[in-house]
Symmetry: C2
Subunit: 183 residues, 2 copies
């Protein structure tokens, strides 16, 4: 390890550096895709994800929807605000349990979802499918290696992760990959 003038350590390891750069580029690509979607279909990635789940689920309470799309309730509330403003979803209070708010997609939303085939995952799926089997499995195990390292780091610092299953708690969020080192 060498030290920079700031006193912080920089990666000597070429591979590590490149790995982090690659991760940043991946996130960047996802973000750009979301913005493109917004321009093409008027809906962002998260909005489309929510809407799609909603079309599959029918009328559900907000909490259940949040769980399904792996976002916090606050985030989902915001997304629903934007979607309902454009009348893609309708909210109404539950009769039996009046704390609950039930959400349902409108027919127009269903139409939009049907006509928006180019969700990121679908394009990705298409391209990914072209890879050879060994490439697929290698890709997966590599990513899981990274996940293991990153989530191991967080365990001590974020007790939150311990409460739910890892698959349950390590699913959403997404800003700030910028704390990864620049080239």
């Amino acid at each position: 390890m060498t030290e920079t003038p700031s006193g912080a350590f920089q990666p000597d390891d070429f591979f590590c550096e490149q790995v982090l750069i690659a991760l940043r580029r991946i996130i960047r690509a996802v973000d750009l895709r979301s913005r493109t979607l917004l321009q093409q279909h008027g809906l962002t990635g998260p909005q489309l994800t929510v809407l799609k789940s909603l079309c599959d689920m029918g009328e559900v309470p907000v909490g259940e929807l949040a769980k399904q799309v792996h976002l916090s309730q606050g985030t989902v509330t915001g997304i629903l605000d934007r979607l309902s403003r454009r009348e893609f979803v309708v909210r109404r209070r539950c009769d039996v349990d009046k704390r609950r708010m039930l959400v349902i997609a409108t027919p127009q939303a269903a139409a939009i979802v049907r006509d928006a085939p180019s969700l990121l995952q679908e394009q990705f799926v298409h391209e990914f499918a072209k890879l050879a089997d060994w490439e697929k499995s290698q890709t997966l195990s590599s990513l899981q290696r990274i996940v293991a390292i990153m989530e191991a780091e967080g365990i001590g610092a974020t007790p939150m992760l311990a409460t739910g299953a890892i698959d349950e708690s390590a699913e959403n969020a997404a800003d700030r990959l910028n704390e990864l080192p620049p080239a």
Copy 2:
């Protein structure tokens, strides 16, 4: 491919699905790490990244800093606003070229950066270094495979990407990995 009630396609490919889930978990881990940093050191990941670069670079124009940390100028302006409010950076207009704004880290900032050894990348670097060489190179090539797929998708849709070099334009940003499919 199978269809869900909403009419959208879901990945049949086990590997692909798992890859996307792994990516979400990685991003999630980075995000959580940023929040932990905020609590521990009072600075978020991006803020720390900016500050660290600034300590290394000395007094530089904002644009150069933005390029270094791979963020848009607008984003950097916001981060600098917050940092200068807390007197971690000082801005002054350049004498020779009065369009330019020069930024420099204060001594206190330098101290903070020196005392915050647990940046994500440093912990990651540490753990990553433990891997065997073949694992490192395999990880990198797998990630680059993903980058290639994702950035290829975007080229047609985002003319923006065509203006700058890919390395230049595909570096920052980070929200919304949620458009990736939930488990």
